[in-house]
Structures are given as C-alpha cells and as structure tokens.
C-alpha cells in the first residue's frame, strides 16, 4: 500500500529508473537467440516480394508527386476513353435516325425498285398485273427494301448509302416494319401516317376477287361469309364498277368489318351485303 510519509524524496525519475531492472533471465536470451537464428535462416532462404523493396528506391519526398502524376494520368485516360465512347454512341444514334428518315421519305415516284432481296412483304391487296399499281406497291414495301431502293436511287447521298450498308440495325428495322405491315397494316398506317397507308388503300382498289378471299378473317361470322363467298364464286360481273369493288375491298379490309354490315344475303349465285 502506498505510504504518504516517506522520509526521503523519491521522484518519478527514480521510479522510471527502476524499470531498468526489469530484465529477462539467461534462459530467455538462449531461447531468443534460437528463435532469431531460425528467423534469420528463413529470411536468407525466403525471397521477399519485390514491392517490399520498392519504397527504398524512391525517397519519401517523391511519393506525393508520383501519386499525383498517377492520378492525373489515370483521370486523363479515363476521360479520353469516355469521350471516344460517347462520340461513337452519338454517331450510331445519328445513323439510325438518318436511316429511318431515309426509308420513309426517299423513294422517288415512277421508279420501280424491282428485285427485292429481303423478306416478301407484298400485300394481298396488290394487283401485280397492273404496272401502275405495281409501282405504288413497291412504294408501300420500300421499308423492307432499304438497300435495294437505295441502290435504285438516282441521287442518294454517299453518307446514307454507307450508313445503310454498314448498319445491320437499319436492315433489321426495315424488316420488322415490313413484317408488321404484312401482319397489321392498320398499325403501320397509324404509325407512319397517311402517306403509306393511304397509298396502299388506293392500290387495293383493283384487287382481284380471288385475292379478296385470302384476307385474314377474324370471327366466325366473317369466316362463314367468306366461305359462302368462295362457294358461290362471287360474281365477277364485268359490269360491276371499279368503285363498287374498291368499296367492297375497303370494307373487307377493315378491322371493324363485323360491326359495319348488318345483313348478309344469298341470292342464287350472288352474295349481298348491307352495311
């Protein structure tokens, strides 16, 4: 226990000097020497990693400049690479936009782009016998034939050509449009506006009677009607006016077909529809 009544002075220095007498025994040093010898041998045999010696080759004062230079270089490389990627992306976006615009607008009148090498996209309402109609039909299917129509162009820009040839996405977009037009022309007409769909409807006016039968019917009533239509070999009276046929074709083409006619009648070899 501490005693506060020591006759002579004991200072903190005296106490600290006492710690000098905290010394290990001789056994400790023999053990120490043996362990140190083992470590020394393993240090001689084992090879240190190269990065352990790295700090010794550079003075401490160059650490900061080297680190700053490394960070600066890394940032510079990152920014330059990022910019390159951004430029490529913007170029690709511009290319795809240009292709879409080109396919919608660049077909000249009177030029028949024959020899389509993409998927067949001819509308069933197209009369292939009529050259006028054929030219118009080609216009409606131009989306699928971007490459061919581009070749048929008298003055397409070199840039557009290169883009179409080099861009598989443009061809795929055009093919998708063509497929969509084939399966759902109403949607195409609503998407592309009146330019293509209205022309397609005009083209459909001289459609032969037999091709009308190939229209996809939806609903049992429509199917029955078409079956009757086929069985009775719809009157191909030459007196029937083109206007009537066009009207009929337009009606049959309509998706609201079932909702628009109110009565179906069979009279001998004639089918009568009342809308």
């Amino acid at each position: 226990m501490p005693d506060s009544h020591h006759p002579s002075k004991v200072t903190i220095e005296d106490l600290l000097r006492l710690k000098k007498s905290e010394r290990p025994s001789a056994d400790f040093w023999s053990n120490f020497e043996r362990e140190l010898r083992q470590k020394q041998l393993s240090a001689l045999v084992g090879k240190r990693a190269w990065w352990h010696d790295l700090p010794h080759y550079f003075p401490r004062r160059v650490y900061l400049p080297i680190s700053a230079a490394a960070v600066f270089t890394f940032t510079l490389i990152s920014v330059s690479r990022y910019n390159a990627v951004q430029v490529e992306r913007s170029q690709a976006a511009v290319a795809s936009t240009a292709v879409a615009t080109f396919t919608n607008t660049s077909v000249p009148d009177g030029k028949s782009a024959v020899g389509l090498d993409s998927a067949p996209v001819s509308s069933p309402l197209v009369n292939r016998a009529d050259p006028k109609v054929s030219a118009n039909a080609e216009r409606s299917t131009t989306i699928a034939a971007v490459r061919t129509t581009a070749e048929a162009q008298p003055e397409p820009s070199a840039k557009s050509d290169a883009l179409e040839e080099d861009s598989p996405s443009a061809r795929s977009i055009a093919a998708n449009f063509a497929r969509l037009e084939q399966s759902d022309p109403e949607l195409i007409s609503s998407v592309l506006g009146s330019r293509l769909s209205s022309r397609a409807k005009v083209q459909s006016s001289p459609t032969p009677v037999l091709e009308l039968a190939s229209l996809q019917m939806n609903g049992g009533r429509r199917t029955r009607l078409v079956a009757s239509y086929n069985d009775h070999h719809f009157n191909t009276d030459t007196n029937a006016s083109d206007a009537v046929r066009e009207k009929l074709a337009r009606r049959l083409e309509d998706h609201d077909f079932n909702d628009h006619f109110s009565r179906v009648g069979l009279n001998g070899d004639k089918v009568s529809l009342r809308f």
Partner: protein
C-alpha cells in the same frame, strides 16, 4: 573520411558514442562484404537495449521478444542499404521503433501486461530502500504493486510521449539522439518529455514523496 561519416560525427557529440559508431560501422562493412556471421556481434551488442525499449513500450515480454527479433531480421535484410549517414544504433532503433509502433497501432485495443520480474540486484539500492522501508514482509508485494502501477501509468500515455520518456529516462539517450530516432525536433522531444513526466507524477503521486 566520406561525407556521411562527417555528418554522423556532427550529430554524435559524445566521444564514446563516436567510437561506438565507428566500431559498428566497421562491422556493418564486414556484413555488407558478405560476412554474415559478423552480424551476430551486432545482435549480441544491442539485443538487451533494444529489448528494453520495446518491452517498456509494449509492457509485454512475449511481444517484445518477437518485435525485437523482427527488428533484427529487418536490419539484416536491409543492411546493404545502410550507408552510414547516421550511427548504426540510431538506424537500428529506428527500425525497432517503427516495428513496435506499427504493432501498437494494430493492437491498440488489446493491452495485456506480461511483466518481467523486477531484478533487485540491478536496481538502485538507495531508491529501493527509500521506497520499501517500514514495509517488512510486504516488501515484495509492495514492489510488485508499484511495478504494475508504473506500467499502467506508462500505458496511459500516448505512443509518442511513451516513446520519448522510455528512450530518455530508461534507455538513457540524449535529446538529439531521440530527435533523430523519432524524427522530430529537440524542442518537441523536450516538450513531450515534460508533459509525460507531469502526467506520470499525477498518476504515481501516492508513491512519490513530497
């Protein structure tokens, strides 16, 4: 005499220390020339002093033993880079101190005392007499308690303060040598020393006579 030796002489003012430094440098040259066994002389010469410093910083004899061995191994591995710009013992102390401080920082939350027995033969007999008079049979218990309290108080000091007071009061280095080993100015060494002593006096007040 090369420039590094002149520089070393300027720092080491004591003639005994200078002779010691020259002798060490000769041995280091032998080791650098390939005489690995010559390094044992340096180990035998400095192991107790180095162990004492590390032990008083860690208050754990096992840790101190391992860290002292590690310091010698590091010195042995790096002996070829020693150019004599400072004395060998300063260089060795720097290595030991850095190894110990790194260990203490890693194990900041783990403090486990493992103290050496106080060797009364090596202690100042007069101080022991003053401390233990009228204690009779409780003398050993009293000394053990004093040792534990002193180590606890030292461990409460921050690492820089503990380092300075250990090197100055226990190992007997001068202010300039401590400044060189620790890497600060002599003024900083004196300041830390003063603060550390004040703190220890406050902690050990019951054991000190007024």
């Amino acid at each position: 005499m090369n420039l590094s030796k002149v520089f070393t002489k300027a720092i080491i003012t004591s003639p005994e220390r200078q002779q010691e430094a020259d002798a060490d440098f000769t041995i280091v040259k032998q080791v650098q020339a390939g005489d690995v066994a010559a390094f044992d002389k340096l180990i035998l010469k400095y192991r107790e002093r180095l162990f004492g410093v590390v032990y008083n910083l860690t208050a754990n004899r096992e840790d101190a033993s391992d860290l002292t061995q590690d310091a010698f191994i590091k010195a042995f591995q790096s002996i070829n880079r020693f150019q004599g710009s400072c004395s060998f013992f300063t260089w060795l102390y720097k290595i030991a101190l850095n190894t110990t401080l790194s260990h203490l920082r890693k194990n900041r939350l783990r403090t486990f005392f493992s103290l050496e027995k106080l060797n009364e033969e090596g202690a100042d007999a007069q101080v022991l007499e003053q401390l233990t008079e009228k204690k009779g049979a409780d003398r050993d218990t009293y000394l053990k308690e004093l040792q534990e309290k002193l180590n606890e108080a030292l461990q409460k000091l921050s690492i820089p303060h503990r380092t300075v007071i250990t090197l100055f009061e226990i190992d007997g280095l001068s202010h300039s040598e401590i400044a060189q080993v620790v890497g600060c100015s002599e003024g900083t060494v004196r300041s830390r020393l003063h603060y550390a002593k004040q703190f220890l006096q406050g902690e050990m007040g019951n054991y000190l006579s007024s």
